[in-house]
């Protein structure tokens, strides 16, 4: 059997012993490779798009001499490879240059906005797992019953309806039925917000024991994360369902049934663990794409996060910011998959040991 991952295929067949440390090392090198390719691609793209970054920074009224000076200051006169290595070296140190629009450090701007999106995405992912895995298990267990039909209906709705539509619908519902429920922003800004350590309001407020901030942040989070989670819920429910159904037919289920192990134990212990492998793999990809795609929901709820920052910088042709946004998203994509790989290794011993012939 071979399992496809981003970093290549892991053979789980009758190959030789796989050493977890070796596997992790391979992943880390793959990690660096992905970041290298991504940075090279985005750098080249940024240099070949028409339009002079210096000219954009200074606006149309600047003289040619001012632009030339700016180019010199930005290092645009150096050869391309040198510009790239400079960029990478500074990027590793967290310096992505100045925003061409605001003139502030891109890294500072991102640092201010990233926690908002991370918090939204993490809660969304938790919501997806909490809803879709039980739903997938139930639809598989009561296959072709009304539970299954309702579950399948919701997953199709979730997958097909765009998230901004959910966002607006949820806002309307909140406005109509829960009149003092906040529907815009990240938290009630009139409260004293806790300072650090993570920037995630839910975590920080718990650390500081500030339950009013916690409640306010949670209230603000619920609807955006619901809107964002719908597509993932639909997808993961379907994947969990089909994995469960696929494994239900296997011999090992019949073994346990033949010895009278109760159905609920077979389903919730044996089948669930085996069937969570596929949805978890998808979850890793989902997490990363949410960071990039959250902007629609962020815009509707005036969230002021990293994803909408990325969109704005693209619209304004703020190249330094765009490059940084892409690299940071890429970084989280890689990290999320690394985490998923570790989780899968913990779940599936076949990834850790050699398969006996």
């Amino acid at each position: 059997m071979r399992r496809f991952t981003l970093w290549g295929t892991i053979s789980t067949g009758p190959a030789m012993q796989t050493n977890p440390a070796q596997l992790m090392l391979k992943r880390l090198v793959g990690f660096a490779g992905v970041m290298f390719v991504l940075s090279a691609m985005i750098f080249i793209l940024a240099r070949i798009v028409p339009g002079d970054p210096a000219r954009i920074a200074l606006g149309p009224s600047a003289t040619q001499q001012q632009v030339d000076e700016m180019r010199l200051e930005m290092g645009l006169d150096a050869p391309l490879w040198q510009q790239y290595t400079d960029y990478v070296w500074r990027g590793i140190q967290g310096d992505f240059g100045k925003s061409l629009i605001s003139g502030r450090q891109v890294s500072d701007e991102i640092a201010a906005l990233l926690p908002a999106t991370l918090e939204l995405v993490i809660v969304t992912v938790l919501l997806i797992v909490a809803v879709s895995i039980p739903l997938g298990v139930m639809t598989a267990r009561y296959r072709n019953s009304w539970i299954d039909n309702v579950g399948r209906f919701f997953s199709i709705v979730g997958v097909t309806m765009p998230s901004f539509l959910f966002a607006i619908l949820l806002q309307l519902i909140a406005a109509n039925f829960l009149s003092d429920w906040p529907v815009l922003g990240r938290v009630n800004y009139s409260l004293d917000l806790p300072d650090g350590p993570t920037g995630l309001l839910l975590v920080d407020s718990v650390v500081h024991g500030d339950w009013r901030v916690f409640w306010s942040a949670l209230q603000h989070l619920i609807f955006p994360s619901m809107a964002l989670a719908m597509a993932g819920i639909g997808q993961i429910t379907r994947i969990t369902r089909s994995a469960m159904i696929e494994h239900q037919r296997r011999d090992h289920v019949l073994t346990l049934k033949s010895f009278g192990v109760p159905d609920r134990v077979i389903v919730f212990r044996y089948l669930l663990k085996l069937s969570s492998i596929a949805p978890l793999t998808i979850m890793g990809l989902e997490f990363a794409s949410l960071i990039g795609n959250a902007f629609v929901v962020e815009l509707v709820f005036s969230w002021g996060g990293f994803a909408s920052y990325g969109l704005e910088s693209i619209l304004q042709k703020d190249l330094n910011a765009v490059m940084a946004v892409v690299l940071v998203s890429g970084f989280f994509f890689v990290v999320a998959n690394l985490v998923i790989d570790i989780v899968l290794m913990a779940i599936d011993p076949r990834l850790r040991f050699k398969e006996a012939k």
């Binding site: 011999d251 090992h252 019949l254 073994t255 346990l256 049934k257 663990k273």
Partner: protein
């Protein structure tokens, strides 16, 4: 003697989309207390449905129409659901067929055993703590001759060999000392020597503990050693039953006769000798080795030597048998001959050219073709027979009308009617599918065909027809076969030369007559001794082996 199990007039049907399909028709079967009964029949005859009806694990769409199953005088079909559940694993239990797929791969072996024991304890109204259960489990594991129960308990299924997993499956059935043991083709997924050990183990457990045994199998050689009474099943009906000796000596029904006649004999007057071929070699390997290396990030990891210094020659027109157990390297040798992988050392010559020098060009592809083990998976289910056969023909550069003509020719070669051209694989029987696979291999007009266990997925009676066909094709078309198998009785009759492989090396090679009459290598002796045969006479003619020899060469010999 009283009957422990008494099945009368059992009718079971399956309902799919409103269509009723009778799978068991008036089945009657008796197992006396302490008796050993075998239920034999081919794929789809209803053997497994019978065992599932006894156990109560039929799928939801199955309906027991009528009949009784009395266990110890009580009709289990009329019992309440709870009582019925309580009998599972305690009154009767099953030894599952396939040790490789019968454990959940992400749970430890011990977890399976513990859950089975815990829930059957609970149904019997007993309480047990986990330490106590672990002690009982380890005791049963020792009983099935697993010497290190603690390690087995903590192992994941993939860390154990097939033979060990089969033993754990037996342990699973013995946890609660049931009175009836149902064995559903145990060990058929394993190598012969392992299968032999498993049979001996089941036999001794049955006699030591005074259990009754219902043995479900299609292997008549196994039946001879494992049963006193035989029931022969066909299309859901018991066509013949009686004591083993009577059935084997004087079978009444044509079906039973055919079943017995289809087994190739290992020794005795019925054995066919293939003429030794004296022609120039078409395939020759000299000092071929192949090692697989673990790819590490930096440098090379451990390497595994799959084939060690193999030299052999296949003459033109020969049926060259390559025997050995799984992992012995026989398939690796075949793949190297086909040029699919390159040897690490040594050279291979096929029809005068060294393999690998010119790559796998069209000429080479036309020279050598392969028939795989399982036609159910080697044929694309979405393609008709005609479409499947047209692919290699189009590669050979034939035009549309020529392709059509050639397909009819190929079908005639494998004795299929021309109208099969538009059938899909699911409309064909196993034997017919394998014929199509053979026709596909013939399409390119090869000189050599590699047969990778071409009959192991088929029933014995079908196996005979396919083998006859292959023999005819070799004579008509002048083919050379490289026959890979672990079925020694088949190879004895079908091959003109045989080579035995052990751990990547050829340990013995020669004409079958010689090899079987006077095997030189102790491994060959152990291998032949393990083959289940049809008569005592054949058993006597088998080579003798000592326990030391077996222990040295057979991985799964526990004792």
């Amino acid at each position: 003697m009283t009957n422990l199990l008494d099945i009368q007039n059992l009718n079971v049907s399956f309902r799919t989309y409103g269509i009723r399909n009778n799978v068991l028709k008036d089945v009657g079967l008796k197992i006396p207390e302490g008796g050993r009964v075998a239920l034999i029949g081919e794929t789809g005859s209803g053997k497994s449905v019978t065992s599932k009806t006894i156990l109560g694990t039929l799928p939801d769409n199955a309906v027991v129409e009528s009949g009784t199953i009395r266990f110890d005088g009580e009709d289990v079909l009329t019992l309440s659901q709870g009582k019925r559940e309580a009998m599972k694993g305690t009154a009767f239990s099953i030894i599952m067929q396939d040790p490789l797929s019968s454990f959940n791969p992400v749970f430890r072996i011990g977890r399976h055993l513990d859950d089975v024991l815990r829930f059957s304890d609970r149904r019997l109204g007993e309480t047990s703590n986990s330490r106590d259960r672990r002690r009982r489990i380890e005791q049963v594991l020792r009983q099935v001759q697993l010497s290190d129960p603690a390690r087995i308990f903590d192992a994941y299924p993939s860390q154990l060999s097939g033979g060990m997993r089969q033993r754990v499956l037996i342990a699973l059935a013995l946890l609660h000392q049931p009175r009836l043991l149902i064995a559903d083709e145990p060990g058929t997924a394993l190598d012969v020597t392992t299968q032999d050990e498993i049979m001996k183990l089941i036999n001794s457990l049955v006699s030591d503990n005074g259990l009754s045994l219902l043995m479900i199998t299609h292997n008549l050689g196994v039946v001879r050693k494992m049963a006193d009474d035989i029931y022969v099943m066909r299309h859901g009906e018991i066509v013949e039953h009686g004591p083993l000796k009577t059935i084997f000596r004087t079978p009444q029904q044509a079906y039973t006769k055919a079943l017995i006649a289809a087994i190739p004999p290992l020794y005795g007057p019925g054995v066919e000798d293939q003429k030794a071929v004296d022609a120039e070699p078409i395939v020759s390997l000299s000092n071929v080795s192949k090692s697989f290396d673990e790819k590490l990030l930096f440098g090379r990891g451990r390497s595994h030597l799959a084939v060690k210094d193999v030299s052999l020659q296949v003459s033109k027109g020969e049926i060259f048998g390559l025997a050995g157990e799984s992992g012995s390297g026989k398939t690796t040798v075949a793949r190297m001959i086909m040029g699919l992988i390159r040897p690490t050392a040594g050279s291979i010559t096929v029809d005068g050219d060294t393999v690998g020098e010119k790559g796998r060009g069209p000429d080479f592809r036309e020279l050598i073709q392969i028939v795989y083990q399982n036609p159910g998976t080697s044929l694309n289910p979405k393609r008709t027979v005609g479409q499947t056969l047209s692919v290699p023909l189009r590669f050979a550069g034939l035009r549309a009308d020529a392709v059509e003509k050639r397909i009819h020719e190929l079908l005639a070669h494998v004795e299929l009617q021309p109208h099969y051209i538009s059938k899909y694989p699911h409309e064909l029987s196993g034997g017919q599918k394998q014929r199509v696979a053979i026709a596909r291999a013939l399409a390119a007009n090869p000189k050599i065909i590699v047969l990778d266990e071409p009959t192991s997925a088929l029933d014995v009676s079908v196996q005979k027809n396919v083998i006859d066909l292959l023999q005819k094709l070799r004579d008509d078309l002048g083919l050379t076969f490289l026959f890979i198998s672990h079925d020694l009785s088949l190879m004895r009759n079908f091959c003109s030369h045989i080579a035995i492989m052990l751990r990547g090396e050829v340990v013995e090679s020669g004409e079958p007559r010689q090899v079987f009459a006077d095997p030189q290598h102790p491994y060959t002796r152990a291998l032949i001794a393990a083959v289940p045969v049809m008569s005592d006479e054949e058993d006597r003619l088998k080579p003798q082996t000592s326990i030391e020899e077996r222990r040295r060469y057979l991985a799964d010999t526990a004792v």
